[in-house]
């Protein structure tokens, strides 16, 4: 479209501008009446109104009435951040019988009245509303993309997140296939004993969940299986699953629980590897975590047999399950155990060495403080003769009932020593005369940096969480990964279980370190999101996707090359003017709407609906309009 035509179109529309006082939040700093008067004079603006609360029923009614009466056919609301009320106003427009995509939002609270004051605030607010009106003049009605959706979900991962999500989905009537890489269900939860802070038995939780899943008529479980290929899009994914021959033959006719492995579904498993396809509407990725493996020599790990990790301690204690004055590990009486926190977590550049791939785990694993304190309390409770030392940087017992565990540990006689990250404790062999195999040298900041030596029969490293390596899924499904290597949701607060690829959800510790409760919360949220997506048999998607102007397109293919989601754009043969030509074509359900194609088209023949380049240019023009006018007067 030529510039003149764009201008013509812009001014042919009737933009309604609705400016909110926000009860004084805006109008205390922005003269909203002055903004209204200025906007009234802008070409293309049919009406400008103000209201104390535009989001209130009377405020929304103002907009609806103007639309119904034909006074306006485009809408700009100038109010708070769009994250709060953009949807509110789109819905108000829809209820008024108009297309919800004729709407543009001007953010004059968070980005004006809360950060600027006086005349300058009013000037900026007016300019931003003018820019929004300029864009609104170029908006056109759009139709949501409707795609049929297979009424089926696939859950990848059979840990607590995957089991919870599968059960919740199936309970809502959605058939589910659960694909688990290992031979057993239960994930890392099956490798625990008592769960902090309530003391529940992890095996019982796993059994209950796995039983519910294995006996559910809507759930099919494949263990020893992995997704090896994916194709398709929201509502219409095609997965290829490969199931291996079980490493250990299991022919039981009933599922059985194997301690510290998990629930083994009833056999038999296939006698040779097989591959099969799944057509599924939504995917929940619940691939979990692995415990950090200390490197050789880290706090003596690998050098001394008496240095073990917390998961190993938990297992050994559970397998022993005896009471006596002293804890016994591998037949040895443990008179003194030293537990070192933050191993493999909160690593600091320049202090902690990077791993072989050059990475550091700079995040807090969040659950290990409580897990360590839980183990310490258990030792003190069941083996009161064993002394427990906790060497920590900070204690982070967030969450209900967890701080109490810290207090209980202190009451139970656990001795706390605090170290600075650059003065990490040193685990060394003790002198033969010391009577202990190991000792830990530590500079304790709680005693004003006194250098102390802790004798130990056992050193336990409180290891953090690392996401499982799912690079194959990341590559296949185009999943975003954070710098911490955990999967990255669209927005941590507003869309916490959604991946940017429509129809793919994330649940549990593949996303971040979570405890069991948080994992189940995330799984429940992902299940509900997936179930509501599939409930109707079709899905409606925002139409903010690429659109090709076939008249302008010359078939250069630059957009196809730049496209970040393979399959979203393709050159196809079509008939134009009686000739067979190759032109770009968008598959809307696959398009991410990122606009990578827009920038590279030599013919300007592709744009993202609802956020076109010319709309952005019109906004910039409005922002610099006062400068242009001043220049003209010079």
């Amino acid at each position: 479209m030529t510039q003149a035509k764009e201008k013509e179109k812009q001014h042919a529309t009737k933009v309604g501008v609705y400016i909110c006082h926000c009860g004084g939040n805006i109008s205390d700093h922005v003269d909203v009446e002055a903004v209204r008067r200025r906007l009234e004079k802008v070409p293309g603006v049919a009406v400008a109104r103000t209201n104390m609360f535009m989001c209130s029923d009377p405020g929304q009614e103002l907009i609806a009435e103007d639309l119904k009466n034909g006074v306006v056919d485009r809408v700009v609301v100038a109010s708070c951040a769009p994250s709060l009320h953009e949807t509110t106003f789109r819905n108000a427009i829809r209820r008024a019988g108009a297309n919800p995509y004729i709407y543009e939002h001007a953010n004059i609270r968070e980005q004006v009245s809360w950060v600027h004051h006086g005349a300058a605030a009013t000037e900026k607010a007016a300019t931003l509303v003018e820019a929004a009106a300029a864009k609104a003049g170029l908006l056109r009605p759009l139709t949501p993309i409707r795609v049929t959706a297979a009424r089926h979900a696939t859950v990848i991962g059979g840990g607590v997140a995957g089991l919870s999500a599968a059960r919740d989905l199936a309970d809502r009537g959605i058939p589910v296939t659960l694909v688990e890489k290992s031979p057993c269900l239960g994930g890392q939860l099956a490798r625990l004993d008592r769960i902090a802070p309530t003391g529940e038995r992890a095996p019982e939780l796993v059994r209950a969940l796995a039983d519910a899943v294995l006996n559910h008529p809507h759930i099919t479980v494949f263990t020893d299986a992995q997704v090896i290929a994916t194709d398709g899009y929201i509502g219409n994914f095609k997965l290829t699953v490969r199931q291996e021959v079980a490493s250990e033959a299991f022919t039981g006719t009933e599922a059985c629980y194997i301690p510290f492995s998990g629930m083994r579904p009833a056999g038999p498993s296939p006698s040779e590897p097989r591959e099969f396809n799944l057509e599924t509407g939504a995917i929940v990725v619940a691939t979990g975590f692995r415990s950090y493996e200390p490197r050789q020599g880290e706090y003596g790990f690998g050098d001394f047999a008496s240095v073990i990790t917390l998961p190993t301690l938990i297992r050994k204690m559970a397998e022993q399950d005896t009471e006596g004055s002293f804890l016994e590990i591998d037949g040895r009486r443990i008179r003194s155990v030293a537990m070192i926190h933050c191993v493999g977590s909160r690593q600091i550049p320049g202090i902690h060495p990077e791993d072989a791939s050059g990475r550091l785990n700079e995040y807090c694993s969040r659950t290990c403080c409580t897990a360590t304190l839980n183990a310490a309390c258990r030792i003190r409770e069941t083996h009161p003769g064993t002394r427990v030392y906790e060497l920590y940087r900070d204690i982070r017992t967030y969450g209900r009932g967890q701080e109490e565990l810290y207090e209980q540990a202190a009451r139970d006689g656990v001795v706390f020593l605090r170290f600075e990250p650059d003065q990490a404790p040193e685990v060394v062999r003790a002198d033969p005369t010391d009577g202990y195999p190991l000792k830990i040298r530590v500079t304790d900041t709680l005693t004003f940096s006194e250098n102390l030596e802790v004798p130990a029969d056992l050193v336990v490293l409180s290891t953090g969480m690392e996401p499982n390596d799912v690079s194959d899924l990341v590559e296949m499904m185009k999943l975003p990964v954070g710098v911490d290597r955990f999967l990255l949701e669209v927005h941590p607060k507003l869309r916490p279980v959604e991946m940017p690829v429509g129809g793919i959800f994330v649940a549990g510790t593949c996303q971040a370190p979570f405890d069991v409760g948080e994992t189940c919360n995330a799984a429940g949220a992902a299940a509900v999101k997936a179930a509501s997506l599939l409930a109707e048999g079709h899905v409606e998607l925002d139409p903010f996707v690429a659109e090709v102007d076939a008249e302008r397109c010359k078939g250069s293919g630059a957009c196809v090359e730049a496209c970040l989601n393979p399959g979203a754009l393709a050159l196809v043969e079509m008939q134009i003017g009686g000739q067979t030509v190759r032109r770009a074509q968008v598959t809307p359900a696959l398009c991410l709407g990122c606009g990578a194609c827009v920038a590279v088209c030599p013919e300007n023949a592709i744009d993202v609906c609802g956020m076109t380049l010319s709309q952005y240019e019109a906004m910039v023009d409005a922002i610099v309009a006062d400068q242009v006018a001043a220049d003209a007067l010079r």
Binding site: A81, P82, S83, N107, R109, E110, Q111, W114, V115, H116, H117, A120, A121, E123, K124, T127, L128, A131, K478, L479, P480, G482, V483, L488, V490, H491, P492, K493, L494, P500, F544, A562, L564, L592, G593, C594, G595, A596, V598, A599, V600, V608, M611, L613, Y616, E617, M619, V620, D621, I623, V624, Q627, V628, D631
Partner: protein, 142 residues
């Protein structure tokens, strides 16, 4: 069209990603932290949408400085950040060729709670665009 080497005004355009930097700017507002009024924030899905000429046109129209506030390595569109970085390299080359101060265009990553980083970026750019000599030839490597 050649872009004037010196900006006409002092307006700063911020292209802020809807997933990260735009909510980040809202977070600055929620904290009531003030910053210069000549900062104008546009919400974008991914700044990879803008071709080289968009930036040069903005400067030609009178925008003094542009800050592209992306999601950085945490971009939800796999590959978009690197494509954007390569594109901005080409814009820098064009700016240099036209004698413009390349500090007037800045690529940065701002998260949803990066209040301090956001304020640093806009204040630094404001300092640059307020200087009378900003944008004059010879400043580009400063």
């Amino acid at each position: 069209m050649t872009v004037p080497s010196q900006a006409k005004g002092n307006k700063i355009l911020v292209l802020a990603t809807e997933s990260c930097a735009y909510p980040g700017a809202d977070s600055v507002g929620q904290a009531h932290s003030t910053y210069p009024t000549n900062v104008y924030i546009l919400r974008v899905k991914a700044p990879v949408l803008f071709p080289e000429r968009f930036y040069l046109d903005c400067f030609r129209k009178g925008i003094a400085g542009i800050i592209v506030m992306s999601c950085g390595e945490e971009c939800p569109y796999d590959g978009a950040y690197h494509a954007l970085a390569r594109r901005l390299d080409r814009v820098y080359q064009a700016m240099k060729a036209q004698g413009m101060d390349i500090r007037r265009l800045r690529l940065t990553a701002i998260c949803t709670v990066c209040n301090r980083a956001f304020l640093n970026e806009v204040n630094q750019m404001n300092e640059l665009v307020q200087k009378p000599a900003a944008g004059e030839p010879g400043q580009e490597n400063g």
